[in-house]
Amino acid sequence: MSSSVKSWLLLLPLLVFMILFVGQGMFRAFQESLDVGGSSGIFANYEALAADGTFHAALGVSVYVAFVSTMLSLLLGLLVTRTLTSWMKSDTWKLGAWFPMLIPHFVGAYLILLFFAPTGWFASAAASAGLGFPVMVQDTAYIGVILTYVWKEIPFVVLMLLPVYQEMDGRMQEVSRSLGAGRWTGFRFTEWPWVRPVLLETGLILFVFVIGAFEVPALLGVTYPSMVPVLAFDWFYQSGWSTRPLAQAMMVLLMLGSILLALLLLTTAYRWRERGRSHA
């Protein structure tokens, strides 16, 4: 048996499982989003969406929140991993960084509320120091939402990056330093090629997760513009289910966008990794 046939066999149960469940669910969602037998064409719901200002606003704010949270998490996660791998001798520090991963997202959102609300603990602290406190939750800039995601996702980024740093050949860094390379140049040539594909894939996971998650923006977002999942939830249940097809159309679009993005980024990550292998 050739090795590739064997690999396919190892993957088969999973593929069947995914296609059976997710594929069937997606097919149904797509079916529900169509306007069969309506007077205005089978894609009427999609046309309605294209003209809907509320949807545009939701999409805009969703992309903004997902992008900013992802970028900040990646950046800070990289910083934490680099700093702590060089500061700490042992690996036990990981347990500390793991903590936020132990609690669900909605608890994370609740924590942010406890600390950052205008009547939260930081506001109390500011008030006792005679200072004011800015509005950081349920704000149109979605600061609270972004804060929650960053706090929750940094540990995930660390978790994904740590193996890379543990494996990285420390000698390479020493050599580049002895050759007089600056910090940035050193990073650019000794770390970046290995870190890059992992960052891209982790970023993809974070981005699609944030853009599709409901709990955090429901608690810490604003009424308008709301993020796509919150809007979808409202449309899904309100007015005797009459806006449900519209909600499904919106989620189908979100799905297609996410899948395209995944294909694009995974292809890139794959190329980078191959290049890394051929260099090594």
Binding site: S3, S4, S7, W8, L10, L11, L14, F17, M18, L20, F21, V22, G23, Q24, G25, M26, R28, A29, L84, W87, M88, D91, W93, G96, A97, W98, M101, L102, I103, P104, H105, F106, V107, Y110, L111, L114, T119, W121, S124, A125, A127, S128, W151, L159, M160, P163, V164, Q166, V198, I205, P229, A232, F236, M251, V252, M255, A262, L263, L266, Y270
Partner: protein, 260 residues
């Protein structure tokens, strides 16, 4: 010195907030602008402990979580290995398919999933809930394990071939111990994700399979902050219990390996 700085940073940003929740759950009427609580009350813990379904829910949650982790590893290890060392054509498409559950909003596919489960006769049953929890967990498990396998150079396999040991023994005694950190991460991650599933559990379990989030989520939709905080503490404690179980299991496994 630096490591002390690192530790205090970690504790302050990541650990203290969670401990703060515990404090919140045992206070009474602690509100703005009091910097520190003045009254204490165990009421929230009485409410939590007094729920007639709480014990059952804790057991169900642990059972579901542990089974989900086991299935994740069972399905995920071969798949991740194949992805990492298989050199497959169309690997990007494969990875995208395996990513699907995180690319697709649960709300959109929930009804389709429910119908499938009814047809399979698994709706309203714990096995259906376990099966459905594989969806949000597997993509992460595969991702984490895959990067673990990636670290193990292909040279290792050649070494195995030269030594002529049967593959499966080698896999268990040689490769898996090397994967220990990745396995731990994957297991805890899968457990936490399974633990926080509300929507999927509610839809597929129909309230017949009462896990902790099913009891807790409605309280989250109330103004009762002490109970919310208390439940959150229970939530954070469960993965810790799981981690302990996992570590003792691994220690036992290593011990057995050494003896044989």
């Amino acid at each position: 010195m630096r490591s002390i700085l690192g530790w205090s940073m970690l504790l302050l940003v990541f650990v203290v907030p969670v401990l703060f929740l515990f404090l919140r759950s045992i206070t009474f009427g602690w509100r703005y602008p009091d910097l520190f609580p003045s009254d204490w009350s165990m009421r929230a813990w009485h409410v939590i402990a007094g729920d007639p379904q709480i014990l059952q829910a804790l057991l169900t949650t642990m059972l579901v979580g542990i089974t989900v982790v086991a299935l994740n590893l069972l399905l995920g290890i071969p798949a991740a290995y194949a992805l990492s060392h298989g050199r497959l054509k169309g690997v990007v498409w494969l990875e995208t398919i395996l990513f699907l559950p995180i690319l697709v909003p649960v709300l959109a596919i929930a009804m389709g999933l429910h119908i499938t489960m009814i047809r399979l006769g698994l709706a309203d049953h714990i096995s259906g809930v376990i099966l459905i929890h594989l969806l949000p967990t597997l993509p992460y498990t595969i991702r984490v394990l895959r990067s673990g396998f990636d670290r193990i150079a292909p040279g290792w396999r050649r070494l195995g071939d030269t030594l002529g040991a049967p593959r499966i023994t080698l896999f268990v005694t040689g490769l898996l111990p090397m994967m220990r950190p990745s396995l731990r991460s994957a297991a805890v991650l899968a457990f936490v994700i399974s633990l926080s599933q509300y929507v999927l559990t509610a839809i597929i379990g129909g309230g017949q399979v009462t896990t902790l989030p099913l009891l807790y989520y409605p309280f989250f939709d109330s103004a009762d902050q002490a109970v919310i905080a208390g439940f959150s503490v229970v939530f954070a404690a469960l993965p810790a219990v799981f981690l302990l179980l996992w570590e003792s299991l691994m220690a036992g496994f290593t011990y057995l390996l050494r003896r044989t």
